[in-house]
Symmetry: C2
Subunit: 622 residues, 2 copies
């Protein structure tokens, strides 16, 4: 059981730099290898720097300045950086990164390819196309039909998904202007509700007729948002704030965003979604897109995508069609737990059995729940998906990705369309003309590619790493539930997790037994947070680090009532601009579920929280 | 003279890895230093990997897979990467990168900060604010009033500049709805033509009244582009294609973009600009922004920003106000040649004298021209400027930057406004909520910071490196002019540069003496390009590498007529969808003007082109 576990230990540099020798040797080898490459390029060319140059004072001074600058940079980094590498860090979505990714990234910086144009990245543009296909397949898409590429992060990926949706929405009306015969008999309402695939078929017809340029000019990209009604954007209230920015940037307007309520499990309230869509359908309003979140930023909750897809089918029968985008910036890579090496989506029982047998999880594991399992299975129902390699892909910053089910949609956001793909080749000559960004580091793409090679995107590769992190979160959650309360300075405090984690984020709060004031409870948890963060001094000397968030009534509605109730706060406190301050631990480290065994790790965690609480109480008094 | 030159030689790794020892020693030291940092974090914590673990088969296998993956990656990179490092590479906007930047980047990957939130980057968010101020000061802005930050590239920086302009344009009408007293008496036309600073003053009043949220909701970000007429976007026809994407993404619509002609020096035809603006003023139309380009992508031409700023003043007197953005993605860093350590903008004579005395340029140098000098001096007239560290900043990808003259504009694109800056501090707690992107690598910011520290942003730092590259381009250009023609296979070919370079891009073409067919000339130059690019086989074995572009009549109008005429092509060939294929050399390397002296380098270049021409002619025959 323990044996198979150990390969995780060979993937990371390690909290003590356990794999230093391997890492340093590889780095030395790769750097030397690069230098040989330079030297063997026209070996007869004379060197640009001679020994005489090197003895020059200015030369020496310049090197010394470089040395001092880098040593100063190292000092700044050491003084203030977050110890992501340690299992003591249970804060934001960070942990140690894969050695293959860090080394691949560092190596490729020396070659410095720019994936914007093939001519600047003959080595790494093909790698980007390759990882795009790998991630598309991971999402359950057919990689031959799909399209995917790396972005600078989930924010830009979300923009790009919505950009495609907005432009696609305007196509049927543009077709009516350019090739009316293709949409004859359709009412304006019907033109605003053509299903995704049917719009792409329309594009095929327009392309075949050689009228693509005319069509694009008549679409929203040519005429602007003022001439094309986009429709409403529906997002759960747990959305990342990039969606609010997206509605601004893309010219849609924030008043055209409708927030969907969440339930007290912090998943989208699908009944609220159904109600709102029904109302819009009745009113004949247009719906641009519904965004589902797989791994909410604060809670790690996974919206029930299977339910949402079902509701969409119902609405299509009522003549209401819209784009479905999954913001799986956080949770996307977790789909690797659910698939095997052949891309088969595994039954939940088989997943648990495999993880138990390979020592990733213990016998108490109940993850994934039926709803989480069904949600991940339904991923390919969405037209586009955001997923971040720099989150559960354990890649250094900055790497997001956007995946689209049907690559035909690419023409809607492409420039110089005729150069998209060279004949018989999947590699575009000017990637920058088919994506939102322009110049982009080939180095980070190489990092993703190397990571995927070492950790394949299935239950035996990434699945094992991410499965371990899920198990770590589960252990932490169970320990909080089992503890129920803790004593400090002779007083008793309830401790409650927000909800059973859908992924690996554990949110929790404490309240003193008998306190019924939300404000007092918030003050306690804020004081506790300050002890577990950079607020109490350099994080480097801290022994436990968490993050925090606030769930406000204005955003979350009544969802937190059950939670604060469990902590002893009456519903009456949940009024006006109330908000509840909570502690948040993203358990990305796979180490929490390893080592001395889950229970003792959990004991350690609870003990640390208890001692932090002691200090926090002292500070609250003073 | 030679002495001061030499410090450039200590800045780069070098075409032969001349500075290998320094580079490798620093990398080893910095990696070891990082590993110590890991080990000294809670030294009592047990290691996560024991010697027993390391002897495990699965552990060894995983390391071996990582090793093989990285060696394979290195092989792929070596097989196809571009030899940016060599002075033989005179193609795209690439060269060797600064050692300080590469090492700072590689080091910081190990700490992996995310500059999106301060909590994830306590070390590198302050560095980003610092380089933002440095770049703002370089542009001639007051760094205390300005705002700047790193983006993933110039494309995103351009979007952000236009995003601000679009949102600002909608403010006066929104003020009319929220605090009508502030704009009483203004007609709709006047509301669409409030000068930039006056709009920011209006924002101050709204902020003071506590009505900022209401105002933003009533502005275009709240209501969408459909409810706020943005106006026309004027860009020269030499624009980067990111502007076409910007008009799409921001919902403005491409039909609301007006191209400005360029003259045969490839600078914006300012008379055309004046004419178009006059027409729009007469028609009472709204103008969103004028974009000036400082260093066009293909030609390196610098628009006459001083003239454009003057035209703007004239138009303001006629009641037409608009945002002025400079796309200095390419040329921005070159402003460091024009300023001294105190930020004083230097007279052209003083620049030439300093560069000559420090051995950067030779006695024949005429750069900068009076127009280029005046254009750079006028930079601070613009409200926002794009500049790319990964171009003339000699930083590895991906690093762009956006600079704004007045940071008050930030509120127009900010979320969670109350947290922009902590009291008394310049560092925002959530940078991601004030910029377009979200997660972003602290590592690339560290690279920029380290580079600026080693190479200050003035004539004695970056100015020396960039000045050398300008001199290299100048030498190449003069050699082409001096040659006039070259013989190959017993035939004579004219050789002509497109224009005297405003910066360090040299564009040129050849034509056989007596040929009057544009098509035949294009075929010749295409064949020559194929000999000087990846098209003729692996670039690694090539001895001279250029890039290419096509200037089409549809984009460039009549600007190329003089150029093709010089080559012997009659004006009559310039009809329909004509385009002229040209070779393009971005001379970023500072080495071309060094070494054996400019003249012999130029001789070498011409000799190489001549021998390439021989091969090209052979291939054209076969």
């Amino acid at each position: 059981m323990a044996e198979k576990n150990r390969d995780i230990k060979a993937l990371f540099l390690g909290p003590k730099g356990e794999n230093e020798k391997f890492f340093s040797d590889m780095l030395t080898y790769l750097t030397g290898d690069h230098l040989s490459w330079r030297r063997y390029f026209h070996p007869d060319d004379p060197p640009a720097v001679t020994p005489e140059d090197m003895s020059d004072r200015a030369y020496q001074d310049t090197l010394q300045t470089t040395r001092e600058t880098l040593v100063d940079l190292a000092a700044k980094l050491q003084e203030a950086s977050m110890p992501w590498f340690s299992p003591r860090y249970l804060g934001h979505m960070n942990s140690d990164t894969l050695m293959a990714a860090s080394l691949g990234y560092m190596l490729t910086i020396l070659y410095n390819p720019n994936n914007c144009a093939y001519e600047g990245s003959p080595a790494t543009t093909p790698l980007e196309i390759e990882v795009g296909k790998q991630l598309a397949a991971l999402m359950g898409y057919d990689p031959r039909r799909a399209w995917g590429h790396i972005t600078s992060g989930g924010t830009v990926a979300n923009y790009e998904g919505l950009w495609v949706a907005r432009n696609l929405k305007s196509v049927p009306l543009a077709v009516k202007r350019v090739m009316p015969g293709l949409v004859s008999g359709l009412s304006d309402r019907e033109l605003g509700n053509v299903p995704h695939d049917a719009v792409l078929d329309l594009l095929d017809s327009v392309r075949a007729a050689g009228l693509m340029d005319d069509l694009l000019a008549a679409s929203v990209r040519g005429e602007g948002v003022a001439s094309h009604e986009s429709g409403m954007l529906l997002v759960p209230c747990t959305k990342h704030y990039s969606w609010t920015k997206a509605a601004d940037i893309l010219g849609i307007g924030q008043r055209n965003m409708i927030p969907i309520r969440v339930r007290d499990d912090y998943r989208m309230d699908t009944e609220d979604l159904r109600r709102i869509l029904g109302r819009l359908a009745d009113a004949g309003e247009r719906v641009l897109a519904v965004v589902a979140v797989a791994g909410t930023t604060e809670e790690g909750a996974v919206d029930e995508i299977h339910e949402i897809a079902g509701i969409r089918k119902d609405m299509e029968r009522r003549g209401l069609c819209f784009h479905l985008h999954i913001d799986a910036a956080y949770g996307g890579y977790a789909r690797s737990v659910f698939v095997d090496g052949e891309g088969r989506f595994l039954p939940a029982e088989e997943i648990r059995k495999t993880m138990l047998e390979s020592g990733v999880t213990g016998p108490d594991s109940r993850w994934p729940s039926p709803e989480v399992h069904a949600a991940f299975e339904a991923f390919p129902e969405a037209e586009s998906i955001t997923v971040d390699p720099h989150k559960l892909g354990y890649i250094p910053y900055a790497a997001g990705a956007i995946l689209m089910r049907d690559r035909r949609a690419l023409d809607l956001i492409s420039y110089f369309a005729s150069y998209v793909f060279e004949k018989g080749d999947d590699t575009p000559m000017l990637l920058g003309s088919h994506i939102m960004e322009g110049s982009k580091a080939g180095a980070v793409v190489a990092a993703v590619w190397a990571a995927h090679r070492v950790c394949p995107l299935h239950i035996g590769g990434y699945g094992r790493v991410i499965g371990s992190s899920m198990e770590g979160a589960s252990i932490f959650h169970r320990a909080l539930v089992a503890a129920g309360s803790m004593k400090a300075r002779g007083r008793t405090f309830r401790v409650r997790p927000l909800a059973a984690p859908d992924t690996n984020i554990v949110v929790f709060a404490l309240n003193e037994e008998g306190n019924t004031s939300l404000e007092i409870m918030n003050r306690l948890n804020r004081a506790l947070y300050e002890q577990c963060s950079y607020k109490s001094g350099p994080v480097y000397t801290n022994d436990f680090i968490v993050s925090k968030t606030s769930l406000s009534r204005s955003e979350y509605g009544d969802a937190p009532i059950r939670f604060i109730g469990d902590l002893g706060i009456p519903t009456g406190e949940w009024t006006g601009d109330a908000e509840v301050f909570v502690l948040r631990s993203c358990v990305l480290t796979p180490l929490l579920s390893m080592g001395e065994g889950g229970d003792s790790q959990a004991e350690l965690l609870l003990g640390t929280i208890r001692s932090k609480l002691e200090t926090a109480l002292e500070r609250l008094v003073n």
